[in-house]
């Protein structure tokens, strides 16, 4: 009897999709100082001064800025930290 080697069937799942990332947004408010908003962005996300300034100006001039994108769990933590610094922040699934 010839020996046979079973070839395992490779299961493929064409339905698998990667989770869409979540965006963290900071919204403009008239009370928080611009210097403070830039400071908090640097402190929490580790951006350099120039990047933080750019994002802060986006918040100020356009009403909001998407400051980070990634997993839902991290987004929740970042929003919590931003609220802890009394900034208006929300998280939403990328693409609505």
């Amino acid at each position: 009897m010839p020996s046979t080697t079973a070839t395992p069937e490779l299961e493929t799942d064409t339905e698998v999709t990667f989770d869409e990332p979540w965006n963290v947004l900071i919204h403009n408010d008239p009370v928080n100082l611009m210097s403070y908003v830039a400071h908090v962005i640097r402190k929490i996300f580790g951006y350099n001064a120039k990047q933080a300034e750019k994002l802060m100006l986006e918040v100020h001039q356009e009403g909001k800025s998407m400051v980070w994108s990634g997993s839902r769990e991290r987004a929740e933590l970042y929003v919590k930290e931003l609220h802890g610094h009394q900034l208006l922040a929300t998280m939403e699934k990328a693409g609505g």
């Binding site: 403009n28 408010d29 008239p30 009370v31 928080n32 100082l33 210097s35 403070y36 400071h39 640097r42 402190k43 001064a49 929740e76 929003v79 919590k80 609220h83 802890g84 610094h85 009394q86 208006l88 922040a89 929300t90 998280m91 939403e92």
Partner: protein, 185 residues
């Protein structure tokens, strides 16, 4: 009033303060804890998701309100407590060669209390903004002396609110630039 950073001693200080300055700072604690301004509380503890997503995030929001809001509430109250405790250490000071007619006050604050001071003054300004509608059109501070006075609210009260709002902002701007930003350099 003079604000000075004393890096070597790990302190910053408010010196040459008149009594009114000390009173205004104590008032920040009351402003931050305003109980007659529910809009202010909503602003301090905003929703983590936009309005149109709140329905589908019901369970998540319940958890958020229970755990995160509770934790932040405690943190903000502790920040105010830190400011008040530091103010308890206020002392009268005189320059070496002269005794001022009116006493001058001095308070020394550890560098690592800067965040708590900023938070307390910010809480106070957020509450004042909403209670007295200081930014009726969004972006710019507007001195509206006769508009929207609530029952029992006096013109004097409203003017005092503007003054405190600006006084607190001045200290905050100095703190963020001179003390808090130093950690990022």
């Amino acid at each position: 009033m003079r604000l000075t950073l004393l890096k070597e001693q790990e302190l910053w200080q408010l010196s040459d303060m008149e009594e009114v300055h000390v009173e205004l700072l104590r008032q920040a604690a009351d402003d931050a804890s305003m109980t007659d301004c529910p809009e202010g509380r909503q602003r301090l503890f905003p929703s983590p998701v936009p309005q149109d997503q709140r329905l589908r995030e019901g369970e998540f929001l319940e958890d958020w309100n229970e755990y995160v809001t509770g934790e932040l509430d405690t943190q903000f109250a502790e920040d105010v407590g830190t400011l008040l405790a530091d103010l308890d250490g206020v002392e009268i000071h005189h320059t070496a060669d002269e005794e001022p007619i009116d006493p001058r006050y001095l308070v020394k604050v550890p560098l690592d209390h800067a965040g708590a001071w900023f938070s307390s003054l910010n809480q106070a300004r957020l509450m004042l903004d909403l209670k007295y509608a200081l930014h009726p059109d969004g972006e710019h501070l507007q001195l509206q002396l006769d508009a929207g006075l609530d029952e029992g609210e006096t013109l004097h009260e409203r003017l005092a609110a503007y003054m405190r709002y600006e006084f607190f902002a001045l200290i905050q701007e100095w703190l963020v630039r001179q003390v808090m930003a130093a950690d990022q350099e």
